[in-house]
């Protein structure tokens, strides 16, 4: 499964890129599991994902909780709580 991953704000800065394409193993079926798996990719990833309570996510552009499924998803975004307006 190939997945497009987007990062925003300080998550993007910590990871060092705003977008990457990954192929997580089949056991990775939730956003939380994906985050744990992504954290192993680099020191920047590990730093960005150290505290999951500071992270929010969207699957195929819909906001979801971290325990949401990523099965069949094409795009997952990981970012801090929003601060618009």
């Amino acid at each position: 499964m190939t997945l497009r991953i987007l990062y925003f704000a300080w998550v993007r800065e910590a990871v060092g890129t705003g977008e990457e394409t990954v192929a997580p193993p089949p056991a990775v079926t939730t956003v939380a599991a994906l985050v744990d798996w992504l954290a192993t990719r680099s020191d920047g990833h590990a730093r960005a994902f150290a505290d999951p309570t500071r992270l929010r996510a969207a699957v195929d552009q819909s906001f979801v909780a971290l325990d949401a499924s990523i099965l069949g998803a094409g795009e997952v975004a990981i970012f801090p709580p929003v601060t618009g307006g």
């Binding site: 704000a9 969207a58 552009q61 906001f63 929003v82 601060t83 618009g84 307006g85």
Partner: protein, 146 residues
């Protein structure tokens, strides 16, 4: 009428106000958020999630249109670098009655604060800092109970 714009261009509030006033509404409420000119911020940079942002703003506007008797809802959000005094966001609600316009306008900004994927970075001198989300924004959004 729902009008959603997310753009790096400065927001022309006169043009936006004229568009909602052109509806046969009677009552128009607006809210403008500006880069504060008094707290030392030199540059405010808004990052967003292209595509998801517009969809989130449209969903907020649609919920407002179905909850109140509105003829129009506008949400214009600027992104990219801004400076003190610049408009960050402009929203407007047009309705036959003022109560609907005022409540819907408050709803639009409260929900935008928690539902739309924007992130603010403040630059003061050499120091760049991502703005932290505020609990008060979630409390403000929660009072609409939807």
């Amino acid at each position: 009428m729902i009008r959603i714009v997310v753009d790096t261009m400065p927001i022309d509030a006169s043009v936006e106000l004229a568009l909602v006033e052109a509806l046969p509404a009677g009552a128009v409420a607006t809210f403008t958020g500006l880069v504060r000119a008094d707290d030392g911020v030199a540059t405010l940079t808004l990052e967003h999630y292209p595509g998801a942002t517009e969809a989130a703003l449209r969903a907020v506007a649609q919920r407002a249109m179905s909850r109140w008797s509105l003829l129009g809802a506008t949400i214009i959000h600027r992104v990219g670098p801004m400076h003190p005094g610049d408009r960050i966001v402009f929203m407007a609600a047009a309705a036959p009655h003022r109560g609907d316009a005022l409540a819907a306008c408050a709803y639009l900004i409260d929900r935008l604060k928690t539902d739309a994927p924007f992130w603010k970075q403040e630059t003061r001198g050499a120091d760049a800092r991502w703005v932290e989300a505020r609990d008060s924004d979630h409390a403000a959004a929660a009072r609409w109970n939807d």
